[in-house]
Amino acid sequence: MKKLLSLLLFTVLVQVIPAHADTSRDKIIVVAHTEESGLTLSQDQVRNLFMGASVGRTLHPAVLPPNNRTRSLFNTKVVGMSESRVQSYWAQMKFTGRRSSPLQVSNEADMLRYLSNTPDSVGYLTADTEIPGELTIIYSTD
C-alpha cells in the first residue's frame, strides 16, 4: 500500500512539476517601467500598443528579435498572427509612412536592462523572469 502510494505520488509529481515549469516558461508577461501603480491593460490594448496604437498614456514598446522563442510566444498568444504576417504589417506601416516598428533589443537580458533603465518603456518576457522592483507587470497570459 505504501509502495503504491509512493508510486502514485511519484507519478503525480512527474506529471505536475515539469508541466508547471513549462507553464511559467510558456506564459508571457508584459512589463512596464511606469509611475502609475496598478496599471493593467487588456490583451487587445497590449496587442494594439505593440502594433503602434496609443493606449492613452506614454508607453514606448520594445520587442525581441524574430526567431526568438519569447517573441514567437508573444506573436501566438497575444498578437494572434504569424511572424510573416507581423513582418508584412510593419512593412506596410513603414512604406505607407504611418508608423515605425518598435525598438528591437537582442535578447531577454537586454530587454530587462533596457526596461529597468528607461522610464515609460514597455516590453514582454516569459513569466519565469525575475522582475526588479521598478517594473510593473501590466498584463499576463492565462
Partner: protein
Amino acid sequence: MTYRANQYKMGQTTSRRLYIQHYTRLKSAIPDFKHRNGASVIMIKIHRLVAGLSALALATLTQSAFAEKITENLELSGFARVIGGYLDHDERQFEGYTNEVSFAEQSLVAVQPTYHFTDKFSVTSQVLAHSSSDRDSGVEWLYLSYQPDNAWHFRAGKLRTPFFIYSDSLDVGYTYPWVSAPAQVYNNYLFSTFNGASGSYFYSGSELALNLEAYYGHFKGDLFLAGTKVDVEAEVDDLAGLVATLSHNNLSLRMSYHQGHNDTVIPAVELIKQPLRANGFNDSADSLESSGRVYALQASLSYDRVNSFYKAEWVKTVTGYKMAPEVIGFYLLGGYIIDDWTLYGTYSKSAYSEIHPANELPQTPTGNDSLDMLSAAYYQVFADTPNGSLESYILGARWDFRLDMALKAEATLFEESRNPSGFFTDSDNEDNENAMLYQVAWEWIF
C-alpha cells in the same frame, strides 16, 4: 475617379477605330494619343535609374538588412520587386501581359530616406524606378511628418492616396500575399499620389481600437487603368477622404469615403462634343460631359488567426456624368499559413452599371455624310465604354524564405461574365473574353 480612365480608354480606342475606319481626314485635327513617343529614351533613363538604385540597394543590404541608419538622424530603407508573367491567350493583353513571358510590366525598385530633425519632426521621401514605360520613375513621395505622441500623426507634402486597404502600399508587394492585388478593386484605383495634408489618430480602448485618417489635397498628373497609362493630364481638386478602422481582437472593419472634383478634359471626346453643340445636339453633347464630382466608397472586413487569415473588401465608384458607369468591385481572400509558407485563394468580381446614350442622333445611316459620321462617332464612344463585368479566381503560394524576402507564384483565371469589362486590351467587345495569367514574384524590403 474610375470613370476618367474608362472614358479616356474609350476615347483612345474610339479615336483609333474612327481613324482606321472612316476618319482619315480628321487625322491632322486629332491630337497625338500615342503616349509611347520617346519611349526608348524613357526606357534608357529607367534602366540607368534601376541600375543605379539596385547598386545602392545592394550596397545597403550587404551592410545590414532592414532600415539602415546612415547617420544618427538619417535612415535609409526601400523595397524592390521582380515580377514575371505570362498570359495564356493568343490575341489579347491583360495589364500589358501577353503570351510572351515578360518581366517588364510590374518590376520596380524604390529607396526611402527619412531624416529625423527631432523625435517628433521628420522628412521622408521615396524615389521609385519602374520597369514599365507607362509608369513615371522619380519622386513618389516627399512629406514632412509631425508625430506629437503615439496617437496623432500629421503629414504634409506629396503623399499616397489611401483609397483602399492596399492602395498606398500597392508597389510594396511584400505587404500582401498576392503577386497582383485583385484588378477589379486595385486597377480601378487610378492615381497613387496627391499633394496635400493628412492627419491620423490611433487609439486603443480595452475592447475596441479606433484608427481615423483624414486627408485633403489635389491631384494633377497621369491616370492608370488596368496597368496602362491613360494619356490625359488629369486634374482633381477638393480631393478629400476619411478612413475609419474599428478593431476588436483580430477582427477589423475598415470603412472609407473619398471624393473630389474632376476637371479633366479629354481631347478625343472634345473633338466630338464641339460639332454636336454646333449642330444643336445639346443633350448628346451634355451626355459626354466629364467634369464634376466623383466619389468612392469602401468597406472591408479582416480576420486574422495565427495560422490563417480572411479578408473581404468591397468598393464602389460613382460619378454624376451620364456616360460614366458606376463601378462596383470586391474580393474575398482566404489564406492558410504553414511555417514559412502561405497558401491563398481569392475570388473577385467587378461590374459596371449600364449606360445610355442620348436619343437625338439617328442610329441608322441617313445619307447625310457628316451627320452619319457624327452619329457613328457618338455611338462608338458609348459602345466602347466598358459596361461589363469581370470575375477572377486566384490561387497562389508565398514563401517567406528570409525575413526580408519572399517568393510568390500565382495563377489567375480571368473571366468576363459580361463584355466589355474594360480589362482586356484589343478585345473585339463582342464575345466574353477569358484567359489564364501566370505570375511569379520576388519581393524584397530593406
